[in-house]
């Protein structure tokens, strides 16, 4: 063993630097299933506290839905716990194939391949389809997993200002000589809850002969009239070349992700995507539960409709209460506070009021853009939303920020 004092001291100082900078992420222990009401042990060692959860990606409230849990039990009973294999050796069951076909149908694509996570899907897909004679042209605010995936790919990397279509067009003009070009974006951006202009992106892609890749993790299951995702919301269903998405958010929230698109690309991912080839298969319990989730949301849009209503209600009420929010229609509602300490202090006070929310600041968001990110769920009832709004109002009054805009909050608290 050669874990020297020198190494130990180095790692300790790295950690203490994070504590000092306020960037150390502490985990809270939840002692109940994921839901609108949860029981949390925080700080560690304290008695569990009942709080309302407003920071989960449980958009459709399906994480602990009885039918989903039942389907998971059935999967465990009929197909066992683990597969002890990657997909291509002896890790593919009939239910994996069934889920991949269902996902293709739901997303409106030709074929789908499951990955252990959407992080893995994004880490693997670019290197499979693009080489050094190609160009990746990405929005600057794409998710970290896409950034990592692009770094693993040899294609030339270009990026455009967030959702700026003129800048994207400039980059498309700059890369005319490349063999293949791919425009890469999130469908919904996770920190702002804003939606990629997929209609405009598809138009530019056609004009300049580029492919389009969308990570729709924060949209699959509820964006668009039938919940198919951002492409449905933007009226370009069937016009996105590659969609990556997750089973870890609206679709039951366990884990797993996928690459969905043309058959050739999906087949190549099965042959060449390293995170797919070298990760264990997604376990049967998740597969049978995810199959049930797709059935539930294909049968009725009730849950996505309720989420839409809840979101509209919360956005309206929180705005009339005097908060400065990022406008939009998505269930991610950023409450802008600009100052990192203010965001942290308010999130802590909200917790005391029984509302679990998290403050985000640099480097997760740009400097001077600190916020509390609220996430609405179809699992929330109106009284949950009212309780959260009342708590926000009480805490907002304490910090005297109600009715104040960006300039005034910065004047009071600084960046």
């Amino acid at each position: 063993m050669a874990y020297s004092d020198k190494a130990k001291d180095f790692y300790k100082s790295e950690l203490s630097g994070m504590h000092k900078a306020g960037t150390f992420k502490e985990e809270r222990f939840i002692e109940s299933p994921q839901a609108a009401n949860i029981s949390v042990e925080y700080p560690v060692g304290s008695p569990p506290k009942e709080v309302l959860n407003f920071c989960a990606n449980n958009y459709l409230g399906l994480s602990s839905h009885p039918e989903v849990v039942k389907a998971a039990h059935e999967g465990l009973d009929s197909r066992g716990y683990g597969m002890s294999s990657v997909r291509f050796i002896c890790g593919t069951q009939d239910i994996h194939d069934k889920l991949e076909k269902k996902l293709s149908e739901f997303l409106g694509t030709e074929a789908t391949v499951l990955f252990a996570s959407c992080m893995d899907a994004n880490a693997g897909v670019f290197d499979v389809v693009l080489g050094k004679e190609d160009a990746m042209i990405s929005d600057r605010l794409v998710h970290a997993s896409i950034v990592d995936g692009m770094r693993l790919c040899k294609a030339q990397l270009y990026n455009y200002k967030h959702s700026n279509m003129d800048h994207l067009e400039e980059k498309l003009k700059e890369t005319q000589d490349c063999r293949f070009r791919m425009i890469i974006t999130d469908g919904v951006f996770s920190m702002d809850g804003d939606i990629a202009k997929l209609d405009k992106i598809v138009e530019l892609a056609k004009k300049y002969d580029a492919m389009v890749m969308v990570d729709d993790s924060h949209a699959t299951g509820f964006m668009g009239k039938n919940g198919r995702g951002t492409h449905e919301h933007c009226g370009v269903l069937g016009e996105i070349d590659i969609i990556t998405t997750t089973l870890g958010k609206a679709l039951g929230g366990a884990s797993g992700g996928c690459v969905s698109g043309p058959k050739e690309i999906v087949d190549l991912c099965r042959q060449r995507a390293r995170p797919y080839l070298f990760s264990n298969t997604v376990p049967p319990v998740i597969i049978t539960a995810a199959n049930k989730v797709i059935d539930l949301i294909s049968k009725t849009t009730d849950r996505r409709d309720k989420l839409e209503e809840n979101t509209k209600y919360f956005r309206e009420k929180i705005t009339t209460s005097g908060f400065d929010i990022k406008e939009g229609v998505h269930a991610i509602v950023p409450i802008m506070l600009y100052n990192a300490k203010l965001a942290q202090d308010m999130a802590r006070d909200m917790y005391s009021e029984g509302i679990y929310v998290i403050g985000f600041s640099f480097p997760v968001v740009a400097k001077g853009q600190a916020r509390i990110r609220v996430q609405i769920s179809a699992g929330h009832e109106k009284e949950h939303l009212d309780k959260a709004i009342a708590a926000f109002t009480k805490v907002g009054e304490k910090y005297k920020i109600l009715g104040k805009g960006k300039k005034e909050i910065i004047e009071m608290y600084g960046y």
Binding site: R140, V147, Q156, L157, Y158, N159, K161, F362, K367
Partner: protein, 84 residues
């Protein structure tokens, strides 16, 4: 190094990284990376611009966040490649 080179880089930074509504001023001493104007992911455009414009190849080990943290630092880096 010429005033012209400096202004060329400043203009590129403004055009490439700032939005029209940004009130941020950029001069040769403005921190670019540590201020968040340019994040490490977007730095690649700046590197590519410098390489094309001045016909140089900046090796990855020289393209550090420190070397790109201000127009002055970038000019110091370019001097190593005899850009005037």
């Amino acid at each position: 190094m010429s005033e012209e080179t400096k202004n060329l880089i400043i203009d590129y930074v403004k055009k490439e990284y700032l939005e029209e509504e940004d009130e941020q001023e950029v001069d040769e001493n403005t921190p670019l990376i540590s201020s968040g104007i340019v994040d490490s992911f977007s730095m690649v455009s700046l590197k590519m611009f410098l390489e094309k414009k001045f016909s140089v190849k900046i090796p990855d080990e020289k393209a550090t966040t420190e070397a790109f943290d201000s127009v002055n630092n970038i000019m110091d880096l370019l001097k190593e490649f005899n850009v005037r």
